[in-house]
Protein backbone atom coordinates (compact mmCIF):
# COMPACT_ATOMS: atom_id res chain seq x y z
CA UNK A 1 0.00 0.00 0.00
CA UNK A 2 1.19 3.48 -0.86
CA UNK A 3 0.65 6.23 1.71
CA UNK A 4 -0.12 9.67 0.30
CA UNK A 5 -0.05 12.78 2.44
CA UNK A 6 -2.41 15.43 1.09
CA UNK A 7 -2.47 19.11 2.01
CA UNK A 8 -5.36 20.02 4.34
CA UNK A 9 -7.52 21.65 1.65
CA UNK A 10 -7.44 18.53 -0.49
CA UNK A 11 -8.20 16.31 2.50
CA UNK A 12 -11.33 18.32 3.19
CA UNK A 13 -12.30 18.26 -0.47
CA UNK A 14 -11.89 14.47 -0.55
CA UNK A 15 -13.70 14.05 2.79
CA UNK A 16 -10.76 12.22 4.34
CA UNK A 17 -8.92 12.70 7.57
CA UNK A 18 -5.25 11.92 7.86
CA UNK A 19 -3.20 10.13 5.26
CA UNK A 20 -4.60 8.26 2.28
CA UNK A 21 -3.55 4.71 1.48
CA UNK A 22 -3.75 3.38 -2.05
CA UNK A 23 -3.24 0.05 -3.75
CA UNK A 24 -1.24 1.01 -6.83
CA UNK A 25 -0.53 -1.38 -9.68
CA UNK A 26 3.14 -1.97 -10.44
CA UNK A 27 5.31 -0.40 -11.61
CA UNK A 28 4.61 2.28 -9.02
CA UNK A 29 5.42 5.48 -10.82
CA UNK A 30 4.61 9.10 -10.05
CA UNK A 31 1.89 9.03 -12.68
CA UNK A 32 0.44 5.73 -11.44
CA UNK A 33 0.08 7.09 -7.92
CA UNK A 34 -1.66 10.24 -9.13
CA UNK A 35 -3.91 8.28 -11.50
CA UNK A 36 -4.92 5.94 -8.69
CA UNK A 37 -5.49 8.82 -6.29
CA UNK A 38 -7.77 10.60 -8.78
CA UNK A 39 -9.61 7.38 -9.55
CA UNK A 40 -10.30 6.79 -5.88
CA UNK A 41 -11.08 10.44 -5.17
CA UNK A 42 -12.38 11.88 -8.45
CA UNK A 43 -13.22 15.21 -6.88
CA UNK A 44 -9.47 15.83 -6.80
CA UNK A 45 -9.23 15.80 -10.57
CA UNK A 46 -7.92 19.13 -11.71
CA UNK A 47 -6.69 20.14 -8.27
CA UNK A 48 -3.26 18.48 -8.51
CA UNK A 49 -2.81 18.16 -12.26
CA UNK A 50 -4.36 19.99 -15.16
CA UNK A 51 -7.49 18.22 -16.40
CA UNK A 52 -6.23 17.94 -19.96
CA UNK A 53 -2.45 18.15 -20.03
CA UNK A 54 -1.90 16.25 -16.76
CA UNK A 55 0.81 18.77 -15.89
CA UNK A 56 1.39 19.39 -12.19
CA UNK A 57 -0.29 22.59 -11.04
CA UNK A 58 2.37 25.26 -10.68
CA UNK A 59 2.12 25.79 -6.92
CA UNK A 60 2.18 22.12 -5.93
CA UNK A 61 5.22 19.96 -5.30
CA UNK A 62 5.85 16.25 -4.84
CA UNK A 63 8.28 15.01 -2.20
CA UNK A 64 9.31 11.54 -1.03
CA UNK A 65 12.21 10.20 0.98
CA UNK A 66 13.56 13.73 1.41
CA UNK A 67 13.75 14.15 -2.37
CA UNK A 68 11.95 16.72 -4.51
CA UNK A 69 10.20 14.76 -7.25
CA UNK A 70 8.23 17.74 -8.58
CA UNK A 71 10.15 18.00 -11.79
CA UNK A 72 10.70 14.32 -12.46
CA UNK A 73 9.20 12.49 -15.43
CA UNK A 74 5.73 11.00 -14.85
CA UNK A 75 7.05 7.48 -15.47
CA UNK A 76 9.66 7.79 -12.74
CA UNK A 77 9.50 4.72 -10.49
CA UNK A 78 9.03 5.87 -6.90
CA UNK A 79 11.61 4.89 -4.27
CA UNK A 80 11.32 1.40 -2.81
CA UNK A 81 10.55 2.86 0.61
CA UNK A 82 7.42 4.51 -0.84
CA UNK A 83 6.40 1.40 -2.76
CA UNK A 84 6.70 -0.72 0.37
CA UNK A 85 4.73 1.81 2.42
CA UNK A 86 7.57 2.62 4.79
CA UNK A 87 7.73 6.22 3.59
CA UNK A 88 4.83 8.39 2.41
CA UNK A 89 4.47 10.28 -0.84
CA UNK A 90 3.87 13.96 -0.09
CA UNK A 91 1.77 16.37 -2.13
CA UNK A 92 2.71 19.79 -0.81
CA UNK A 93 1.35 23.27 -1.43
CA UNK A 94 4.29 25.52 -2.25
CA UNK A 95 4.80 28.12 0.43
CA UNK A 96 4.97 30.94 -2.12
CA UNK A 97 1.87 29.82 -3.98
CA UNK A 98 -1.52 31.35 -4.31
CA UNK A 99 -2.86 34.66 -5.44
CA UNK A 100 -2.37 37.99 -3.78
CA UNK A 101 -4.21 39.95 -6.39
CA UNK A 102 -6.67 42.72 -5.88
CA UNK A 103 -10.09 41.72 -7.12
Amino acid sequence: MITVVLPPHLRSLAHVQGDVTLEVARPVTLEAVLDTLEERYPMLRGTIRDHVTKQRRPFLRFFACEQDLSHEAPDLPLPDAVVSGREPFFIIGAIAGGSGREV
Binding site: H51, G93, R101
Partner: protein, 395 residues
Amino acid sequence: MSKVRVLVGTRKGAFILSADGKREKWDVSGPHFSGWEIYHLKGSPVDPNRIFASQSSGWFGQIIQRSDDGGKTWFQPGTPKGETSSPEDRMPKGESNKFVYDTSASSGKPLTTHQWYDGTQHPWEFKRVWHVEPSLTDPDLIYAGVEDAAIFRSQDGGMNWHELAGLRGHGTGPKWQPGAGGMCLHTILLDPSNPARMVIAISAAGAFRTDDGGNSWKPINRGLRSQFIPDPVAEVGHCVHHVAMHPSRPSVLFMQKHWDVMRSDDAGEQWKEVSGNLPTDFGFVIDVHAHQPETVYVIPIKSDSEHFVHDGKLRVYRSRTGGNEWEPLTKGLPQANCYVNVLRDAMAVDSMDQCGIYFGTTGGQVYGSADGGDSWFPIVRDLPAVLSVEVQSLP
Protein backbone atom coordinates in the same frame (compact mmCIF):
# COMPACT_ATOMS: atom_id res chain seq x y z
CA MET B 1 -41.69 37.46 1.28
CA SER B 2 -40.79 36.74 4.86
CA LYS B 3 -37.10 35.86 4.94
CA VAL B 4 -33.85 36.99 3.41
CA ARG B 5 -30.67 35.02 2.92
CA VAL B 6 -27.46 36.91 2.21
CA LEU B 7 -24.74 34.86 0.51
CA VAL B 8 -21.27 36.15 1.24
CA GLY B 9 -18.10 35.02 -0.55
CA THR B 10 -14.82 35.87 1.16
CA ARG B 11 -11.10 35.31 0.80
CA LYS B 12 -11.31 32.44 3.29
CA GLY B 13 -14.70 30.83 2.89
CA ALA B 14 -18.42 31.44 2.43
CA PHE B 15 -20.93 32.69 4.97
CA ILE B 16 -24.71 32.70 4.92
CA LEU B 17 -26.55 35.41 6.84
CA SER B 18 -30.26 34.84 7.42
CA ALA B 19 -33.02 36.97 8.88
CA ASP B 20 -36.76 37.35 8.81
CA GLY B 21 -38.45 40.14 6.88
CA LYS B 22 -37.71 42.70 9.56
CA ARG B 23 -34.01 42.12 9.01
CA GLU B 24 -33.16 42.95 12.58
CA LYS B 25 -31.94 39.65 14.01
CA TRP B 26 -29.43 37.68 11.97
CA ASP B 27 -28.16 34.13 12.04
CA VAL B 28 -24.68 33.54 10.65
CA SER B 29 -23.56 30.19 9.27
CA GLY B 30 -20.09 29.39 8.08
CA PRO B 31 -17.37 29.39 7.18
CA HIS B 32 -18.29 27.00 4.42
CA PHE B 33 -15.25 25.79 2.42
CA SER B 34 -13.03 27.15 5.14
CA GLY B 35 -9.76 28.53 3.91
CA TRP B 36 -10.75 28.63 0.22
CA GLU B 37 -11.41 31.74 -1.81
CA ILE B 38 -15.09 31.98 -2.60
CA TYR B 39 -15.37 34.47 -5.40
CA HIS B 40 -19.14 34.18 -5.76
CA LEU B 41 -22.28 32.35 -4.67
CA LYS B 42 -25.69 32.74 -6.19
CA GLY B 43 -29.04 31.00 -5.83
CA SER B 44 -31.36 29.88 -8.59
CA PRO B 45 -34.37 32.18 -9.02
CA VAL B 46 -36.39 29.08 -9.94
CA ASP B 47 -35.32 26.96 -6.97
CA PRO B 48 -33.89 29.27 -4.28
CA ASN B 49 -32.57 26.34 -2.25
CA ARG B 50 -30.26 25.52 -5.13
CA ILE B 51 -27.14 27.63 -4.67
CA PHE B 52 -23.99 27.51 -6.73
CA ALA B 53 -20.60 28.50 -5.36
CA SER B 54 -17.28 29.16 -7.01
CA GLN B 55 -14.54 27.80 -4.76
CA SER B 56 -10.97 28.37 -5.85
CA SER B 57 -7.37 28.49 -4.78
CA GLY B 58 -4.18 29.60 -6.41
CA TRP B 59 -2.75 26.23 -5.39
CA PHE B 60 -5.55 23.82 -6.19
CA GLY B 61 -7.55 25.49 -8.93
CA GLN B 62 -11.27 25.70 -9.49
CA ILE B 63 -14.06 23.79 -7.76
CA ILE B 64 -17.78 24.24 -8.34
CA GLN B 65 -20.00 23.47 -5.37
CA ARG B 66 -23.77 23.18 -5.23
CA SER B 67 -26.29 23.10 -2.43
CA ASP B 68 -29.84 21.89 -2.89
CA ASP B 69 -30.94 22.73 0.65
CA GLY B 70 -30.28 26.43 0.92
CA GLY B 71 -26.65 26.15 1.88
CA LYS B 72 -26.89 23.62 4.71
CA THR B 73 -24.96 20.96 2.79
CA TRP B 74 -22.82 21.15 -0.31
CA PHE B 75 -21.52 18.78 -2.94
CA GLN B 76 -19.70 18.94 -6.21
CA PRO B 77 -22.29 18.47 -8.97
CA GLY B 78 -22.06 14.91 -10.22
CA THR B 79 -20.94 13.57 -6.89
CA PRO B 80 -23.69 11.87 -4.93
CA LYS B 81 -24.21 13.72 -1.68
CA GLY B 82 -22.12 12.40 1.16
CA GLU B 83 -20.14 9.99 -1.02
CA THR B 84 -16.49 10.12 -1.82
CA SER B 85 -16.70 7.65 -4.68
CA SER B 86 -19.50 6.81 -7.04
CA PRO B 87 -20.65 3.64 -8.73
CA GLU B 88 -19.15 2.95 -12.12
CA ASP B 89 -22.29 3.87 -13.98
CA ARG B 90 -22.58 7.34 -12.46
CA MET B 91 -21.27 10.58 -13.79
CA PRO B 92 -17.49 10.68 -13.43
CA LYS B 93 -16.74 13.03 -10.61
CA GLY B 94 -14.43 15.96 -10.88
CA GLU B 95 -16.00 16.90 -14.21
CA SER B 96 -17.69 19.86 -12.59
CA ASN B 97 -14.26 21.37 -11.94
CA LYS B 98 -13.33 21.17 -15.58
CA PHE B 99 -13.28 24.47 -17.46
CA VAL B 100 -11.56 23.88 -20.76
CA TYR B 101 -11.72 26.48 -23.51
CA ASP B 102 -13.54 25.15 -26.56
CA THR B 103 -11.04 24.95 -29.41
CA SER B 104 -12.96 22.35 -31.40
CA ALA B 105 -13.50 22.83 -35.11
CA SER B 106 -17.26 22.46 -34.79
CA SER B 107 -18.17 24.92 -32.03
CA GLY B 108 -14.95 26.40 -30.69
CA LYS B 109 -12.47 29.10 -31.42
CA PRO B 110 -8.67 28.78 -31.44
CA LEU B 111 -6.89 29.82 -28.29
CA THR B 112 -5.33 33.16 -29.07
CA THR B 113 -3.45 35.73 -27.05
CA HIS B 114 -4.52 38.83 -25.20
CA GLN B 115 -2.61 41.92 -24.27
CA TRP B 116 -0.49 41.68 -21.14
CA TYR B 117 0.05 44.56 -18.74
CA ASP B 118 3.10 45.73 -20.65
CA GLY B 119 1.39 45.62 -24.02
CA THR B 120 2.96 42.34 -25.17
CA GLN B 121 0.79 39.40 -26.14
CA HIS B 122 0.11 36.65 -23.60
CA PRO B 123 -1.56 33.27 -24.03
CA TRP B 124 -5.11 32.68 -22.78
CA GLU B 125 -5.05 30.61 -19.56
CA PHE B 126 -7.93 29.56 -17.33
CA LYS B 127 -7.55 30.81 -13.75
CA ARG B 128 -10.91 30.76 -11.94
CA VAL B 129 -14.64 31.40 -12.01
CA TRP B 130 -15.47 34.93 -10.92
CA HIS B 131 -19.22 34.90 -11.27
CA VAL B 132 -21.98 32.30 -11.46
CA GLU B 133 -25.33 33.27 -12.93
CA PRO B 134 -28.20 30.78 -12.66
CA SER B 135 -30.89 30.88 -15.32
CA LEU B 136 -34.09 32.79 -14.63
CA THR B 137 -36.20 29.83 -15.78
CA ASP B 138 -34.25 26.55 -15.58
CA PRO B 139 -32.63 25.32 -12.34
CA ASP B 140 -30.17 23.16 -14.30
CA LEU B 141 -28.95 25.97 -16.53
CA ILE B 142 -26.18 28.19 -15.25
CA TYR B 143 -23.55 30.48 -16.71
CA ALA B 144 -20.07 31.14 -15.39
CA GLY B 145 -17.81 34.10 -16.08
CA VAL B 146 -14.16 33.16 -15.86
CA GLU B 147 -10.61 34.51 -15.88
CA ASP B 148 -9.01 34.58 -18.49
CA ALA B 149 -12.14 36.08 -19.88
CA ALA B 150 -14.73 33.70 -21.29
CA ILE B 151 -18.25 32.58 -20.56
CA PHE B 152 -19.16 28.95 -19.88
CA ARG B 153 -22.57 27.28 -19.66
CA SER B 154 -23.77 24.20 -17.83
CA GLN B 155 -27.08 22.63 -18.77
CA ASP B 156 -26.97 19.85 -16.21
CA GLY B 157 -26.87 21.63 -12.90
CA GLY B 158 -23.16 22.35 -12.94
CA MET B 159 -21.83 18.88 -13.78
CA ASN B 160 -20.39 19.74 -17.18
CA TRP B 161 -19.28 23.09 -18.51
CA HIS B 162 -18.91 24.19 -22.11
CA GLU B 163 -17.57 27.47 -23.33
CA LEU B 164 -19.70 29.80 -25.44
CA ALA B 165 -16.65 30.39 -27.57
CA GLY B 166 -18.12 33.08 -29.80
CA LEU B 167 -17.28 35.67 -27.18
CA ARG B 168 -13.59 34.79 -26.80
CA GLY B 169 -13.45 34.36 -30.56
CA HIS B 170 -14.93 37.76 -31.24
CA GLY B 171 -11.69 38.74 -32.93
CA THR B 172 -10.73 41.59 -30.65
CA GLY B 173 -9.09 39.36 -28.02
CA PRO B 174 -5.55 40.62 -28.72
CA LYS B 175 -6.75 44.04 -27.56
CA TRP B 176 -8.24 42.79 -24.29
CA GLN B 177 -6.03 43.16 -21.25
CA PRO B 178 -6.15 42.26 -17.56
CA GLY B 179 -7.21 44.76 -14.96
CA ALA B 180 -5.49 44.77 -11.61
CA GLY B 181 -7.44 41.67 -10.59
CA GLY B 182 -6.82 39.74 -13.77
CA MET B 183 -8.64 39.50 -17.10
CA CYS B 184 -11.95 38.48 -15.70
CA LEU B 185 -15.50 38.18 -16.96
CA HIS B 186 -17.28 39.38 -13.85
CA THR B 187 -20.78 40.46 -14.87
CA ILE B 188 -23.50 38.39 -16.51
CA LEU B 189 -26.95 39.98 -16.91
CA LEU B 190 -29.82 37.86 -18.23
CA ASP B 191 -32.64 39.76 -19.92
CA PRO B 192 -35.94 38.62 -18.35
CA SER B 193 -37.89 39.75 -21.40
CA ASN B 194 -35.67 38.12 -24.01
CA PRO B 195 -34.02 34.76 -23.24
CA ALA B 196 -31.68 35.16 -26.19
CA ARG B 197 -30.16 38.36 -24.85
CA MET B 198 -27.33 38.60 -22.33
CA VAL B 199 -24.95 41.37 -21.38
CA ILE B 200 -21.51 40.58 -19.99
CA ALA B 201 -18.59 42.70 -18.90
CA ILE B 202 -14.86 42.07 -18.81
CA SER B 203 -12.00 43.89 -17.13
CA ALA B 204 -10.43 45.24 -19.23
CA ALA B 205 -12.20 44.67 -22.50
CA GLY B 206 -15.58 46.25 -21.91
CA ALA B 207 -19.19 45.19 -22.22
CA PHE B 208 -20.55 42.78 -24.81
CA ARG B 209 -24.05 41.68 -25.73
CA THR B 210 -25.48 38.62 -27.39
CA ASP B 211 -28.90 38.57 -29.00
CA ASP B 212 -28.76 34.95 -30.10
CA GLY B 213 -28.28 33.02 -26.86
CA GLY B 214 -24.52 33.33 -26.73
CA ASN B 215 -23.46 32.27 -30.21
CA SER B 216 -22.33 35.69 -31.32
CA TRP B 217 -21.43 38.83 -29.40
CA LYS B 218 -20.91 42.48 -30.13
CA PRO B 219 -19.00 45.04 -28.10
CA ILE B 220 -21.29 47.68 -26.60
CA ASN B 221 -18.84 50.34 -25.49
CA ARG B 222 -19.79 53.39 -27.53
CA GLY B 223 -19.65 56.45 -25.31
CA LEU B 224 -17.08 55.03 -22.88
CA ARG B 225 -13.86 56.98 -22.54
CA SER B 226 -10.72 55.49 -20.96
CA GLN B 227 -7.46 57.36 -20.81
CA PHE B 228 -5.35 54.27 -20.12
CA ILE B 229 -5.73 52.94 -23.66
CA PRO B 230 -4.09 54.61 -26.66
CA ASP B 231 -7.44 55.41 -28.27
CA PRO B 232 -9.66 56.50 -25.34
CA VAL B 233 -12.85 55.72 -27.26
CA ALA B 234 -11.74 52.40 -28.74
CA GLU B 235 -14.27 49.67 -29.47
CA VAL B 236 -12.73 47.44 -26.76
CA GLY B 237 -10.18 47.74 -23.97
CA HIS B 238 -12.27 49.56 -21.36
CA CYS B 239 -12.07 48.51 -17.73
CA VAL B 240 -15.71 48.03 -16.88
CA HIS B 241 -16.04 47.18 -13.20
CA HIS B 242 -19.70 46.24 -12.97
CA VAL B 243 -23.03 46.61 -14.76
CA ALA B 244 -26.52 46.53 -13.25
CA MET B 245 -30.02 46.36 -14.63
CA HIS B 246 -33.53 46.54 -13.24
CA PRO B 247 -35.52 43.50 -14.38
CA SER B 248 -38.51 45.61 -15.37
CA ARG B 249 -36.40 47.68 -17.75
CA PRO B 250 -33.69 45.43 -19.16
CA SER B 251 -32.64 47.92 -21.82
CA VAL B 252 -31.58 50.44 -19.19
CA LEU B 253 -28.10 49.62 -17.94
CA PHE B 254 -26.00 51.29 -15.28
CA MET B 255 -22.23 50.86 -15.29
CA GLN B 256 -19.48 51.55 -12.82
CA LYS B 257 -16.43 51.85 -15.00
CA HIS B 258 -12.86 52.09 -13.68
CA TRP B 259 -13.52 55.82 -13.64
CA ASP B 260 -17.00 57.14 -14.55
CA VAL B 261 -20.51 56.03 -13.74
CA MET B 262 -22.38 55.47 -16.99
CA ARG B 263 -25.90 54.83 -18.19
CA SER B 264 -27.36 53.35 -21.35
CA ASP B 265 -31.03 53.48 -22.36
CA ASP B 266 -30.70 51.21 -25.37
CA ALA B 267 -29.12 47.99 -24.05
CA GLY B 268 -25.62 49.36 -24.39
CA GLU B 269 -25.72 50.76 -27.90
CA GLN B 270 -24.73 54.15 -26.50
CA TRP B 271 -23.54 55.21 -23.04
CA LYS B 272 -23.56 58.58 -21.35
CA GLU B 273 -21.82 59.63 -18.19
CA VAL B 274 -24.00 60.16 -15.10
CA SER B 275 -21.28 60.66 -12.47
CA GLY B 276 -22.71 64.09 -11.69
CA ASN B 277 -21.84 65.32 -8.21
CA LEU B 278 -20.12 62.18 -6.91
CA PRO B 279 -17.00 63.01 -4.86
CA THR B 280 -15.05 60.57 -7.05
CA ASP B 281 -16.43 58.47 -9.86
CA PHE B 282 -13.98 55.61 -9.38
CA GLY B 283 -15.55 52.55 -7.79
CA PHE B 284 -16.52 48.94 -8.21
CA VAL B 285 -20.13 48.23 -7.20
CA ILE B 286 -23.34 49.53 -8.69
CA ASP B 287 -26.88 48.32 -8.14
CA VAL B 288 -30.51 49.31 -8.68
CA HIS B 289 -33.36 49.52 -6.15
CA ALA B 290 -35.72 46.55 -6.40
CA HIS B 291 -38.87 48.64 -6.90
CA GLN B 292 -37.58 51.97 -8.19
CA PRO B 293 -35.75 51.51 -11.50
CA GLU B 294 -34.36 55.05 -11.42
CA THR B 295 -32.84 54.64 -7.96
CA VAL B 296 -29.20 53.61 -8.22
CA TYR B 297 -26.49 52.95 -5.63
CA VAL B 298 -22.71 53.26 -5.88
CA ILE B 299 -19.87 53.42 -3.36
CA PRO B 300 -17.20 55.85 -4.54
CA ILE B 301 -13.61 54.72 -4.02
CA LYS B 302 -10.87 57.33 -3.83
CA SER B 303 -8.88 56.37 -6.93
CA ASP B 304 -7.36 53.57 -8.95
CA SER B 305 -4.15 53.90 -6.94
CA GLU B 306 -5.89 54.25 -3.57
CA HIS B 307 -8.48 51.52 -3.33
CA PHE B 308 -10.33 52.74 -0.26
CA VAL B 309 -13.28 54.99 0.39
CA HIS B 310 -12.92 58.72 -0.02
CA ASP B 311 -12.00 60.90 3.00
CA GLY B 312 -11.97 57.94 5.39
CA LYS B 313 -15.78 57.87 5.26
CA LEU B 314 -17.82 54.90 4.16
CA ARG B 315 -20.62 56.45 2.16
CA VAL B 316 -23.12 54.86 -0.16
CA TYR B 317 -24.35 57.29 -2.78
CA ARG B 318 -27.91 57.08 -4.02
CA SER B 319 -29.40 58.69 -7.07
CA ARG B 320 -33.18 58.77 -7.35
CA THR B 321 -32.95 60.24 -10.83
CA GLY B 322 -31.08 57.52 -12.68
CA GLY B 323 -27.77 59.25 -12.16
CA ASN B 324 -26.21 62.72 -12.16
CA GLU B 325 -27.76 63.79 -8.85
CA TRP B 326 -26.35 61.79 -5.96
CA GLU B 327 -26.88 61.98 -2.20
CA PRO B 328 -24.56 60.47 0.41
CA LEU B 329 -26.07 57.87 2.74
CA THR B 330 -24.11 57.74 5.97
CA LYS B 331 -26.40 56.87 8.87
CA GLY B 332 -24.94 53.84 10.62
CA LEU B 333 -21.77 53.77 8.52
CA PRO B 334 -18.31 54.72 9.83
CA GLN B 335 -17.52 58.35 9.03
CA ALA B 336 -13.93 58.55 10.23
CA ASN B 337 -10.75 56.53 9.79
CA CYS B 338 -12.35 54.02 7.43
CA TYR B 339 -10.15 52.72 4.64
CA VAL B 340 -11.94 49.72 3.21
CA ASN B 341 -12.77 48.86 -0.37
CA VAL B 342 -16.02 47.39 -1.68
CA LEU B 343 -15.37 45.00 -4.54
CA ARG B 344 -17.38 44.73 -7.71
CA ASP B 345 -19.72 41.86 -6.88
CA ALA B 346 -20.14 42.82 -3.24
CA MET B 347 -23.47 44.68 -3.34
CA ALA B 348 -26.98 43.28 -3.71
CA VAL B 349 -30.60 44.31 -3.18
CA ASP B 350 -33.47 42.22 -1.86
CA SER B 351 -37.03 42.45 -3.12
CA MET B 352 -38.85 42.94 0.17
CA ASP B 353 -41.53 45.66 0.23
CA GLN B 354 -39.01 47.93 1.91
CA CYS B 355 -36.04 47.26 -0.35
CA GLY B 356 -32.96 46.02 1.48
CA ILE B 357 -29.45 46.87 0.32
CA TYR B 358 -26.37 44.87 1.36
CA PHE B 359 -22.67 45.28 0.75
CA GLY B 360 -19.45 43.75 2.05
CA THR B 361 -16.04 45.32 2.52
CA THR B 362 -12.46 44.23 2.27
CA GLY B 363 -12.35 44.81 6.03
CA GLY B 364 -14.79 41.94 6.53
CA GLN B 365 -17.91 43.90 7.40
CA VAL B 366 -21.26 43.20 5.80
CA TYR B 367 -23.66 46.11 6.12
CA GLY B 368 -27.36 46.06 5.47
CA SER B 369 -30.12 48.58 5.10
CA ALA B 370 -33.78 47.70 5.44
CA ASP B 371 -35.05 51.09 4.30
CA GLY B 372 -33.61 51.63 0.86
CA GLY B 373 -30.34 53.01 2.17
CA ASP B 374 -31.60 55.67 4.58
CA SER B 375 -29.94 53.87 7.50
CA TRP B 376 -27.43 51.05 7.80
CA PHE B 377 -26.42 48.42 10.31
CA PRO B 378 -23.53 45.96 10.42
CA ILE B 379 -24.71 42.37 10.13
CA VAL B 380 -21.20 41.05 10.77
CA ARG B 381 -18.01 42.97 11.35
CA ASP B 382 -15.09 40.58 11.31
CA LEU B 383 -15.28 38.23 8.36
CA PRO B 384 -12.35 37.71 6.00
CA ALA B 385 -12.20 40.23 3.15
CA VAL B 386 -15.53 40.10 1.34
CA LEU B 387 -15.40 39.27 -2.37
CA SER B 388 -19.10 39.01 -3.18
CA VAL B 389 -22.56 39.54 -1.73
CA GLU B 390 -25.83 38.22 -3.10
CA VAL B 391 -29.23 38.15 -1.44
CA GLN B 392 -32.27 35.95 -1.79
CA SER B 393 -35.78 37.00 -0.80
CA LEU B 394 -37.64 33.93 0.38
CA PRO B 395 -41.28 33.18 1.16
